[in-house]
């Protein structure tokens, strides 16, 4: 069995625009990898191609034994991959608890779902206080907690996060990042983190990949990238 997530020479186009132009990257199991870059660099497209919402023109994506290009979006979760959309991915018409339960429904196993629910409430107490409220009533930070918790309800081995810091207070972003690190230590969770906020992402990540106009312009240990002043100025904005 091969391990980790491997993306090989991925090309995704929107009409004439090559949003991903031959992207390759390796994510080892149990690591946190940050995907960085400016708006329009192809970060979100990369996530959407990995989870199957967008089909590439060419290239390969494998996770463990799964060929993700042959997997339907609805079945990606069965390969152990959970997706955390931005805070807007909360289904506001449902209650907090319904949102959470949805994350574990694919298992068709009520007992496991109940257990995961208790874990999530322990991990994110504000959600427990609001469990029967409409998700519409949550603040931005609580919504982000909810989408992370909902993804964890699936008990994934790989978590894909899309801009978890967008529009959030730094303190809340830090809390979420700390939770991710804890999960990596405790359960060997693998995380791919797409971020515009490079500074905070590099502080939690083990590895990092910098995209620019659909191409990988740098990759390596997060600490090395953070120390590279030229790279920071050119692509990361700090």
């Amino acid at each position: 069995m091969s391990s980790g997530l491997s993306v090989d020479n991925l090309v995704t186009t929107y009409g004439a625009v090559r949003a991903l132009d031959g992207v390759s990257l390796q994510v080892q199991d149990g690591t946190i990898t940050a995907v960085l870059g400016a708006n329009g660099a192809g970060k979100t497209t990369l996530l959407r191609t990995i989870n199957g919402l967008v089909r590439p023109v060419s290239g390969q994506i494998r996770y463990g034994d799964h060929d993700l290009l042959k997997t339907r979006v609805e079945d990606v979760v069965q390969a152990g991959i959970a997706h955390v959309p931005e805070g807007r991915g909360v289904i506001t018409e449902l209650t907090v608890e319904e949102n959470l339960r949805l994350g574990a429904l694919w298992r068709n196993d009520r007992a496991t779902s109940d257990e995961s629910l208790r874990e999530m409430y322990a991990m994110f107490p504000p959600l427990a206080e609001r469990r029967l409220q409409s998700a519409d009533t949550l603040s931005g930070g609580e919504r982000q907690m909810l989408v992370v918790a909902r993804a964890l309800m699936a008990r994934p081995s790989l978590l894909l996060l899309d801009e978890p810091s967008l529009g959030l207070a730094p303190r809340i972003t830090a809390q979420i990042m700390a939770t991710l690190r804890r999960l990596r230590e405790a359960q060997g969770l693998t995380v791919v983190l797409v971020e515009q906020n490079a500074r905070s992402a590099l502080s939690v990540a083990d590895e990092a990949v910098v995209l620019n106009l659909g191409k990988v312009v740098a990759q390596g240990p997060a600490a090395d990238l953070a120390a590279d002043e030229k790279l920071r100025h050119a692509y990361l904005g700090f």
């Binding site: 609805e74 959309p85 991915g89 449902l94 319904e98 949805l102 068709n108």
Partner: protein, 297 residues
């Protein structure tokens, strides 16, 4: 006063049937954002099937009901899968045309099988002779009570299905946010098929209940077309998005029409429905029960 009470009771019984048709429309609207103009024709066909069994083969009322429901499930599910699926992601007008086409097709099909010339009668579930209060007869019969109870039970069953079961949660999630639902492992496409099947089954029950209220109800066009118009009016009054709204819209319409028929003139019932619809749309453009829509800038 007694007359007023009587008219109101008669209106409630009719209103429950409108509510059931409205609910069928709401189920499809919520799942696919399509107004199913074929709803009336679908329930006409299921009612014809039940009528054929009952009339020509002497099949029991309740067995006919079950057959009609199953036929509804099949017609609804197959329609979504085969006809609606290909246009689901296109411009809304395409789906409207497809449902109109289905409407005409089903009407033609029923005519070809059962004939256009004659209108048939369907037996009511229970006696249509009104209950007596002292020496006076109410415009409310055991059959009316049966209609009210049948629709109420159906509403409760749907409520429990949507709010207490995993399938219901999946259906609501995929209606509200299909993309996020797919990422969470929900097979959105399958649930759309289930939604249409369910809606047509609800319609099938409404069709049978309605057919028992008037002699000569069962014909390819006529009463069933009017039923769709009233169901649609009720659904729009309720806001198209809300099942509670559909029920209240149906009851409101039933009672108002009953009053208008008696106190004004009963030859122009369709016009009253139109006036009520326009009045509601002028006062509350999103219907009485829709969530206030976010202003699109």
């Amino acid at each position: 006063m007694f007359r007023f009470l009587n008219l109101t009771l008669a209106g409630i019984s009719n209103g429950m049937i409108f509510a059931a048709v409205a609910l069928a429309l709401v189920l499809i609207w919520r799942a696919t954002r399509i107004v199913n103009f074929a709803q009336g024709a679908m329930l006409m066909v299921t009612t014809f099937i039940a009528w054929d069994l009952s009339q020509n083969h002497g099949v029991n009322y309740w067995v006919c009901m079950i057959v009609a429901i199953v036929a509804g499930l099949i017609i609804g599910g197959v329609s979504e899968r085969v006809l609606v699926r290909p246009v689901e992601n296109g411009p809304p007008i395409n789906a409207v045309i497809v449902t109109l086409g289905l409407f005409i097709f089903l009407q033609g099909l029923a005519g070809a099988i059962w004939g256009n010339a004659q209108a048939h009668s369907y037996p009511p579930g229970y006696s249509i002779i009104g209950y007596k209060v002292g020496s006076r007869t109410l415009l409310f019969s055991p059959n009316d009570l049966y209609i009210v109870l049948a629709v109420t039970v159906m509403l409760l069953a749907l409520y429990l299905l949507f709010n207490r079961t995993p399938v219901g949660l999946r259906m609501r999630a995929s209606a509200f946010n299909p993309e996020v639902s797919r990422l969470l492992g929900v097979h959105v496409g399958r649930l759309l098929t289930v939604g249409w099947a369910l809606a047509a089954a609800v319609g099938a029950v409404a069709g049978l209940l309605a057919a028992g209220t008037q002699p000569g109800y069962v014909a390819p066009s006529g009463y069933f077309d009017a039923l769709l118009v009233y169901g649609f009016t009720a659904a729009v009054i309720g806001g198209l998005d809300s099942s509670v709204g559909a029920v209240i819209g149906g009851l409101l319409l039933g009672v108002l029409l009953s009053w208008a028929d008696a106190y004004i003139d009963n030859n122009v019932e369709g016009m009253y429905a139109l006036i009520i619809l326009i009045a509601v749309l002028m006062l509350r453009p999103n219907g009485l029960f829709a969530r206030p829509a976010a202003r699109r800038v």
